[in-house]
Amino acid sequence: MKETVTLFKREFMGYFRSPVAYVFLAVFLVGAMGLPWFLGGFFESNDASLRPFFLFLPWIFLFLVPAVGMRLWSEEKRSGTWELLFTLPIGIWQAVAGKFLAGWAFVSLAIILTLTMPITIAYLGSPDWGPVFSGYVGSILMAGAFLGICSAVSALTRNQVISFVVSLIICLALVLLGWSAFNELMLALNLPVWLVDALANFSFVTHFEGMVAGLIRLRDVVFFASIIAFSLAITVLILER
């Protein structure tokens, strides 16, 4: 446990030792706040809600979370430092958890920095704080699920580009499954409704939308938590080989 905390600290601080963290934060903040303003009609809607902001988030995560997650294990493998790490008295589970939590904390920090959005809304109107809160909880959970998948993929390869692209494709699939246009396409292909529903249930978006609407449902939380646990277990299995 103590080792996990030590590793967490090293990893989290590590993001700020390189310019990557600042580039990431800048791109994320510009994207996450710019898209709803310029594409989402955030201002014109004349509605004191963060809905347009949250609905763009899965698409931004799609590109930016793999950018954080691609180096989790790939970099350690490429530079050989995982040899150093795993000859220290730390279990594989603890190492995987420490690195994942650090990445998650970093992405969560980026999400928290967007709190200027609700502050702006509160200045302009009077938002309903319930959905704002649940939306943020959902965003952080969803980012964790994205990152878990990136962790597993990055354990597979020492090449960060491969790690990024494969993570992105898997995450894209998990977003698309719940996209209404995509579901209608599947129905148009005469796929049975129960199958389309089952597939849509695997989508991040399906489980995220409830939280954007203001509902923190147990099944949605369990869904994201189990995606995280499952992908970390896969990471451990890969590293144990």
């Binding site: 080792e3 030590t6 090293r10 390189s18 530079s79 050989g80 040899e83 150093l84 000859t87 730390i90």
Partner: protein, 326 residues
């Protein structure tokens, strides 16, 4: 202190390490020699618990590495090949991280940190990011992290690789200074290093141990062991050659750059034999010296078959696993 029993590592159909067994006691410095790809690094990685062996077992201070890996790892200091480090951290940040991971805290950590920095002469660069350091300093940072917790077992994969002669000397001194208290395994390509530091040598080729003995014993395998080189003042050794050849105790005589290379039979002391003869018969002798024995020749003889070196057998899969699995 380190007991290695029948270690085997397979990469698919290829056997990278084949039934390796040896012991290292406290006070030993074991030199691990072998051509590239012979299985040195793979063996070391298995001993440290980084790589699970296909079969066989390792005990560190009586602790089975496979059964209680974390406990065993507490007793090991390991310098991986080509010294991987976190480049963006400063020396002190990195070493502090290692100390904390090793379970040291407070005054204990500060003392360990101080000791490691002192031992490896890192004080001047302690606030520099590791990526800005020269190869010699990086290697010393690697050494510092390996000795941080004052482990009873040190495993050093090519500790002097890529260093200049002064730095090599420095690292050798460092290792020698710790030798009494620890069991040390080091791998190297430099045979003089083995002669200078190690009290035991293992030569490994194609995954198998060829030789496990002291450097002095290893030298005995040299074809010129006990041989002498004789040089005459006028340089013409033609006449003398036959005389020497017929002497009792001489196995063979060879002309070599105007000198005679004389090999003994039954471990005869050739030097005194020839001196006496030379004095009695008034040979115009210029010099009589023991033949130059190079461990390299022994190494080459052992690791080459029919003039071909035993080829690198580590498959690409092995590289993925462990940087360069040598």
């Amino acid at each position: 202190m380190i007991n290695v029993r029948n270690l085997v590592k397979d990469y698919g159909p290829i056997r990278a390490v084949d039934d390796v067994t040896f012991d290292v006691r406290k006070g030993d410095i074991l030199g691990f020699l072998g051509p590239n790809g012979a299985g040195k690094s793979t063996t070391m990685k298995m001993i440290t618990g980084f790589l699970p062996p296909t079969s066989g077992r390792t005990e560190i201070a009586g602790i089975d590495v496979a059964e209680r890996p974390r406990e065993a790892k507490r007793h090991i200091g390991y310098l991986p090949e080509s010294g991987p480090l976190y480049p963006e951290m400063t020396v002190i940040e990195f070493l502090r991280f290692i100390a904390e991971m090793r379970g040291l805290s407070g005054a204990k950590a500060a003392a360990a940190l101080d000791r490691a920095i002192e031992l490896c002469h890192l004080r001047a660069v302690r606030h520099q990011p590791i990526e800005t350091l020269s190869k010699g300093f990086r290697q010393r940072v690697g050494m510092a992290q390996a000795v941080m917790h004052d482990p009873p077992c040190l495993i050093l994969d090519e500790p002097t690789d890529g260093l200049d002669p002064n730095q090599k000397q420095e690292v050798r001194r460092l290792i020698a200074s710790m030798a009494k208290e620890k069991a040390i395994i080091l791998s190297t390509h430099i045979l003089e290093e083995v002669e200078a530091m190690c009290n035991r040598v293992i030569i490994i080729a194609a995954g198998r141990i060829l030789v496990n003995e002291t450097p002095a014993d290893l030298l005995r395998r040299h074809p010129n062991y006990g041989a002498v080189e004789l040089e005459l003042a006028h340089g013409d050794t033609g006449n003398l050659r036959n005389t020497v050849k017929d002497l009792d105790g001489v196995a063979s005589v060879e002309s070599l750059n105007g000198k005679l290379l004389i090999r003994p039979k039954n471990q005869t002391d050739l030097k005194s034999l020839l001196w006496n003869r030379a004095l009695a018969e008034k040979w115009p002798m210029k010099s009589l010296e023991p033949a130059n024995l190079r461990l390299e020749d022994v190494f080459r003889n052992l690791t080459q078959k029919d003039g071909e070196s035993i080829e690198e057998r580590t498959p690409p899969a092995a590289r993925e696993k462990g940087q360069t699995a040598a």
